[in-house]
Symmetry: C2
Amino acid sequence: MSDARDTLFRYLTLLQLIPRSPGRISTPVLKEKLAERGFHIDTRSLQRDLGQKLSTQFPIGCDDSQKPYRWYFDRAFQCHLPALDVPSALTLVLAEEYLKGLLPPVVVGQLTPHFNDARQLLDGMASNGLSKWARCVRAIPNGKALIPAELDEAIWQTVAEALLEQKAIDVMYLSRTSETEKPLTLHPQGIVSRHSATYLLAHVDGFEDLRQFALHRVKHAAFSQRAWQARDDFDIDRYIQSGAFGYRQGPDNVVLEAEIARPVAWLLQETPLSEQQTIEALPGSQWYRLTAQVPDDQQTLWWLMGMSTNVKVLAPSAWRETLKANAAQVLAHYQDTPDTCDMH
Amino acid sequence: MSDARDTLFRYLTLLQLIPRSPGRISTPVLKEKLAERGFHIDTRSLQRDLGQKLSTQFPIGCDDSQKPYRWYFDRAFQCHLPALDVPSALTLVLAEEYLKGLLPPVVVGQLTPHFNDARQLLDGMASNGLSKWARCVRAIPNGKALIPAELDEAIWQTVAEALLEQKAIDVMYLSRTSETEKPLTLHPQGIVSRHSATYLLAHVDGFEDLRQFALHRVKHAAFSQRAWQARDDFDIDRYIQSGAFGYRQGPDNVVLEAEIARPVAWLLQETPLSEQQTIEALPGSQWYRLTAQVPDDQQTLWWLMGMSTNVKVLAPSAWRETLKANAAQVLAHYQDTPDTCDMH
DNA sequence: AGTGCTGCGACAATGTAAGCCGCATAAAGC
DNA sequence: GCTTTATGCGGCTTACATTGTCGCAGCACT
């Protein structure tokens, strides 16, 4: 774009081209990339920019162990333009609280520079006003927080890049059934993060069918020589709804009718089950009548199950039956084995 | 800090001082803030920087309806130094997918410039390689996603700022019980986001006890004249664990023992319930034996309830009894009202 | 040893930044 | 209605910064 001889803008472009610390970029490559963007400058100028101007003002490092020097940004550095405002910073902190329970630590770690920036800003305020933000913001996750699966940082990076740049990858995969590591060549098609585990959707080289690979069972990943095989008919939403992750779901919504206890009524008034939802008080009791259009999926059924005695489902009858059968089965479980092991 | 006469650095500082669009900053104020940071420049230079240099290269606007001109950044603009890498961008997209179901739209909206940045980067890649990132990344939330409560942007901003800068606020609050709006003066102490609703912990002016205020029931908020009342004995974690959000929890962990079905065993092997967890196959069946140290809280109990027939709890006996009683009660519910309304 | 790549110091020509001044405009005060 | 004050803006000048060029020095590879 701009071939304006603006030095400021060239500096900024330069700063944007230097990757964060695990990454590196060499001087000649930088020169080339700058040229691509319309900055045709002499190598010497670039060297001066890096070595004398930028590296004195920014946390920029230089790996001079090999001759085309490699430049990189400090791992923790982050700078936003415009600067973060207070509400945004607080939102970031909240977001981090939530995400820590949802994504593998490494993946959240990918964003630490951003979160650090927010924390720094809030800490800075704290030093004046003494508001200890860390002590006044919490996120309570939805449902039981399982511990996110461990995941190697390099693997996440490789897989993410392969998926987006449409490359095939060679992996060592620890099969769930056989407990042995197998080398595979995969053609990534999608990533699904469910609860606390993250899965790669891909098909194995030479095969046509799509399979799921838990990322934390990938032990090694590298870009492959093989060309990436496309599947243009692939639709991730259709794939998920087809039941691949245990969330089989009818194509249409169903109308849920139920009687709900007062606390549940309050909850649903504030955070509704769906856009179409009505709640009416049932005269002469603490109960309410709920009607809502909800998806016909496992999630909703689980939610109803968790509400246990606080919700009486009236329709659809299939759910009613499922819940009833479930309760009967659970009860049977516990009556089969009487409480001989009571430890009280 | 740096009184280095570096123009680049001054430009950057300047850019950081200009707020995003709802915000505005006037030229004299900018001059003052720059001086605070060690940049003592002539007003004329500042004017030139803004009007001729920056505003041609950046999406910066100027409100010249009143005489000290007011400057602001384009609402959607975001620039990171160093630029986002591909894995980070993908992580941001994933994070947004999750957060959309967890935080009020307005709060997530606070971060849209960040997410936009990521999307832009990925879109840029797509135009080359045609990898439609939007079609290959999904997050499946944990548990039933209720619709996050509506919340006004200005209210979130006011509350966040008040909390962090320790100011009291005047609000109009829609009481849950009386259905009427009441004016209150609050002294914010904390924010808790639970599931899809966000609560302000504060005490009412003149009272000592802490109360929760659902942010979506706050209809109006403004900074108050009154001085903020501190409560230095306040500990948000203790407050939550004391049961304030329906998550009463014993102080100690308990040892959960249970028999679990094969799919659950797989799930827990990948995303454990806790750090201390063992799973052993039970010979001659598809069942496994689980032992885990878990917190004694409602969440865990709910999770067990949701697993229904796939988990048979052996200990602690209190949970066993609870689950059993629950099942009995649910069953009773449905048998009280026989299936006369079956619609099949 | 020769060749090519890279980094670096020096230098001169060019370009630019920034203070200063004066003028124009608009709002506030008398 | 006129002055005062605050701000924006164009132009001028100078000191200073930027940048291409050159020469030299390591270093790797041949």
